[in-house]
């Protein structure tokens, strides 16, 4: 099994199924084209996106429904095409795509999730991108309250 050096957890083995290709990188990190999804039972529902290239780059993320249990996807047709998904409809959460909200920590350890630009991963092809919404329905700094994260999946 391949191994990856991580920012927070030392060296970890990972399955091929947890490696995702980001052909465009992420805004601000255009060179980071591959991330490994790290899910650890003791940290659930929080997950980690560790860059394959840079050990010191590891994003914290929540599954989008954990951050907001009523979240409605609005991925643009262009982004859907780039993900090899049907551009005429929104993909099915969980079955077709894994959608994650990146978490930022601020002073005093308050946390926000970026619901305006979620990470959308095509399970089947393992291609992924950060899908910036064209509407203003969700904030790029959605506050996360402790305990609000329980009970959602």
């Amino acid at each position: 099994m391949p191994q990856i050096e991580t920012k927070y957890f030392g060296t970890l083995p990972y399955g091929e199924g947890s490696t995702f290709e980001f052909p465009f990188g992420l805004p601000g990190f255009e060179n980071e084209k591959q991330f490994v999804l790290i899910e650890l039972e003791q940290h659930a529902p929080l997950v980690f996106l560790q860059s394959s290239l840079r050990k010191d780059l590891c994003f914290l993320a929540f599954p989008i429904l954990v951050a907001d249990r009523d979240y409605q996807l609005a991925v643009t047709p262009d982004d859907l095409r780039a993900l090899d998904l049907n551009p005429t409809r929104q993909p099915e959460l969980g079955r077709e795509v894994l959608v994650l909200a990146l978490v930022s920590l601020h002073d005093g350890l308050s946390a926000t999730a970026n619901l305006m630009a979620p990470i959308v991963i095509n399970w089947k092809t393992r291609r992924a991108l950060q899908a910036i919404r064209q509407d203003s329905r969700y904030s790029h700094q959605h506050p996360i309250r402790p305990r609000a994260t329980e009970g959602a999946c």
Binding site: Y8, G28, F29, L109, N114, A117, Q130, Q134, P146
Partner: protein, 75 residues
């Protein structure tokens, strides 16, 4: 914020060398043309916000802060 009313075909300048032209206005939105020097960076606001937010998210934590933050996040 300075607010101006412009019709399709009209434009305005920001400084000496950035020109913003309203090309088309419809129910779907306004189509904007921008004439600017090559070195001027033009970004949609949501892309700029995402970039800044990603940089903030990547700043991350030191190993010591990590456990504490995680506990807090998990409630």
């Amino acid at each position: 914020m300075l607010v101006l009313r412009r019709r399709a075909g009209e434009s305005l300048f920001i400084g000496d060398d950035v020109e913003i032209e309203v090309l088309e206005v419809s129910a779907q939105g306004a189509k904007i043309g921008i004439r600017a020097p090559r070195e001027t960076i033009v970004l949609r606001k949501e892309l700029k916000l995402t970039q800044q937010q990603n940089e903030a998210a990547a700043r991350g934590l030191t190993a010591t802060d990590f456990e504490q933050a995680i506990q807090k996040l998990r409630g």
